[in-house]
């Protein structure tokens, strides 16, 4: 009888579960549809891409992807390489380095804010946050002038420095919340057991918040990866990132090449998809950190 009751409950749960799954599926499809559309477009010929009504079934082609890396040129005698490999490298290098730097600086600052609060600790934290409160476009002119004067404009270090500064507040706040969740007794215990402050930090605290650090890294990476405005104004020909390069393919003498654009976007999605996929377990633990009480 107990088994029958359990089966009944399972069936009920099963029904509710199916309902939720269906709902989640519908919402996911609605959100994912534009992405899917772009990926499909990347495999279409120019005619198929512009067809009305839109074609769901078509003969796929890789021409657009080839077009990202090679373009037809009469002077070069056929095909000429584009700069997109460089732009992809730039995007990865600039976003990766600046988010990593911000994470290192932010983690150190977060530990200090969490464990050794100053007089007016909350005020300092608030001030750090205020740097993210105004829309970036408000500060773009002074920053542009500063970069021009200091010679940072167009260099890797210039844009990396800027993105690092942009990511630090976010890193400090997020990582501090992870430190705050830890049981400080563990650190005290390590001190009693002869650990130096460095061993307490690296050996006891950091291993406990690795998932949180991974989550912070991915969130920062997504923000930085997609940044357009500062990249447009502060990168040069050699340091241009993919979003900027993408925009520059618009409005050439042949009009907008939607297939090419879709191919770039599709390629642009791959690295971030890969990183998120690799870190998904940590990410899940990171975003649920602290929502479950000890």
């Amino acid at each position: 009888m107990a088994a029958a009751a359990r089966r009944g409950r399972q069936r009920e749960l099963g029904k509710a579960g199916w309902g939720w799954t269906a709902l989640v599926a519908v919402v996911s499809i609605i959100y994912f549809f534009p992405v899917l559309w772009i990926i499909l477009t990347a495999f279409k010929t120019r005619t198929d891409a512009l067809a009305i009504p839109p074609k769901l079934f078509f003969t796929p082609t890789l021409d657009n992807f080839i077009g990202v890396f090679y373009r037809a040129s009469i002077s070069a005698g056929g095909a000429q390489e584009t700069n997109f490999p460089l732009y992809f490298f730039n995007s990865i290098f600039i976003a990766g380095t600046s988010v990593l730097l911000a994470l290192i600086v932010g983690t150190l600052a977060a530990y200090a804010f969490s464990r050794h609060p100053l007089r007016g600790n909350d005020t300092y934290l608030f001030i750090i946050l205020t740097t993210r409160m105004m829309p970036p476009i408000v500060v773009i002119i002074p920053i542009f002038l500063m970069f021009r004067l200091s010679g940072l404009a167009g260099s890797y270090w210039g844009i990396i420095l800027l993105y690092t500064a942009f990511n630090i507040p976010f890193s400090v706040w997020l990582v501090k919340s992870f430190f705050d969740e830890l049981n400080p007794e563990i650190e005290d215990a390590a001190r009693m057991d002869g650990a130096t402050e460095r061993q307490v930090f690296f050996g006891m605290c950091l291993p406990q918040i690795l998932a949180g650090l991974a989550a912070t890294f991915v969130f920062g990476l997504i923000l930085t990866w997609n940044e357009f405005l500062f990249a447009l104004l502060l990168t040069g020909v050699d340091t241009r990132t993919v979003p900027v390069a993408m925009a520059r393919t618009l409005g050439g003498e042949v009009g907008v090449d939607y297939g090419l654009l879709a191919a770039i976007v599709t390629l642009f999605l791959i690295p971030i998809f890969f990183v998120t996929f690799l870190l998904q377990n940590q990410l899940l633990r990171g975003v649920t950190f602290g929502t479950v009480k000890r």
């Binding site: 007794e185 005290d188 390590a190 057991d193 002869g194 130096t196």
Partner: protein
């Protein structure tokens, strides 16, 4: 090795958490710091550990002043209330952690871990991580980690507070046995008087950052130094009755308790007291006999609530406006609303002056005139 606290003080901003306390814990002695939460007992412990720095006063381990030393330089071992096991290390690694600072050989570390695991029966769980342990096992790992190295003294912060009642009794015995084997000065912080009474050689009762009394468990129970200690130690709580001294009789001293009077067999320090002095009488719930008839030395009280506690029964009584708790044998079954007559057992009276301090009193042996 001894622990000595001299005028030790800790201030957090304007708040004085520990206020000029003096305490000496002798060689091999187990001292319990007992008090309600917020009384400064944990702060005192953390100052001895080196996790808080003293605002004033001195901490001496043996002959050495250690105020300025960091926790890791003091060679003091401590177990924490929430065990503070290192979550990313296995049980064996947790136990071995304090030994790394001592630069021992791998063989020696393994030998010590085995030894501790044997004493605390941790052999089967050595490979597990703290998250996979039961509460009692976590507690044993925490104790094991603190006793694995040769520390100069041992500190326990609420060692049993997280265990359920049954486990608490077993662990109390185990910890006591371990502590006896160590023969080092040990300080245990607890708010549980049973824990203090059973494990301590001496108890220091704290309130509001001050030590109210330091004495053996027996002494604390038998001769509480003031009203606070009298009310804090012992369950059910001691009855504390405000009385006025009326006069002296051949059988003792007559006190006024509300409207009624009662003759109690005390003299001693009371001989110096003037009539009408306001005092407090303390009588433990088990220190009453029920008398068959009202007499000059009995207190009349009405039965209000009856709480059977198994072997005994706790009666809540009303003597005038004063509530009384009396523990009687379970076979004694007065009716609710009936009146009983209480006679204090000789030698079990406590008398406190207007300053809340104990008046040292002698009870008068029955039949001998004062």
């Amino acid at each position: 090795m001894t622990i000595e606290l001299l005028q030790l003080t800790k201030q957090f901003g304007k708040l004085t958490a520990v206020d000029r306390i003096d305490l000496k814990i002798g060689e091999g002695e187990v001292l319990c710091l007992l008090g309600p939460s917020g009384c400064g007992k944990t702060t005192t412990l953390r100052m001895i550990a080196g996790l808080e720095f003293a605002s004033d006063g001195e901490i001496r381990l043996g002959d050495v002043r250690v105020n300025e030393l960091a926790a890791r330089e003091r060679n003091v071992a401590m177990t924490f209330q929430f065990y503070a096991l290192y979550p990313s290390l296995t049980v064996a690694e947790n136990l071995a952690y304090p030994l790394h600072a001592e630069a021992l050989s791998a063989g020696e570390i393994a030998r010590r871990v085995d030894q501790i695991a044997r004493i605390l029966q941790l052999g089967p769980v050595l490979k597990r991580r703290p998250g996979q342990l039961a509460e009692g096992e976590k507690q044993r790992v925490a104790v094991g980690r603190s006793i694995i190295r040769d520390a100069v003294c041992f500190l326990f912060d609420e060692p049993l507070s997280r265990l359920d009642v049954q486990l608490r009794e077993t662990m109390r015995g185990e910890i006591k046995a371990v502590l006896e084997g160590l023969n080092k000065p040990t300080v245990i912080v607890t708010h549980d008087q049973l824990e203090a009474l059973t494990m301590a050689d001496r108890i220091a009762v704290m309130r509001d950052g001050r030590i109210e009394q330091v004495a053996s468990p027996h002494e604390i129970f038998a001769r509480p130094a003031n009203l606070f200690v009298a009310g804090f130690i012992g369950t059910p709580q001691m009855n504390l009755l405000p009385v006025k001294l009326v006069d002296r009789t051949t059988d003792g001293v007559r006190f006024a308790l509300g409207e009624a009077t009662v003759i109690l067999p005390v003299n001693g320090a009371t001989s110096a007291l003037r009539p009408s002095a306001a005092l407090t009488i303390g009588v433990r719930p088990r220190a009453f006999d029920l008398a068959a008839q009202p007499a000059p030395d009995t207190i009349a009280a009405r039965v209000d609530i009856i709480e059977p506690m198994g072997a005994e029964t706790l009666l809540h009584l009303l003597a005038g406006e004063h509530e009384l708790r009396v523990v009687v044998d379970r076979r004694t079954r007065p009716a609710i609303g009936s009146t009983v007559h209480l006679r204090c057992k000789p030698n079990q009276l406590h008398l406190f002056g207007t300053d809340e301090q104990r008046l040292d009193l002698r009870t008068v042996p029955a039949g001998v005139p004062a």
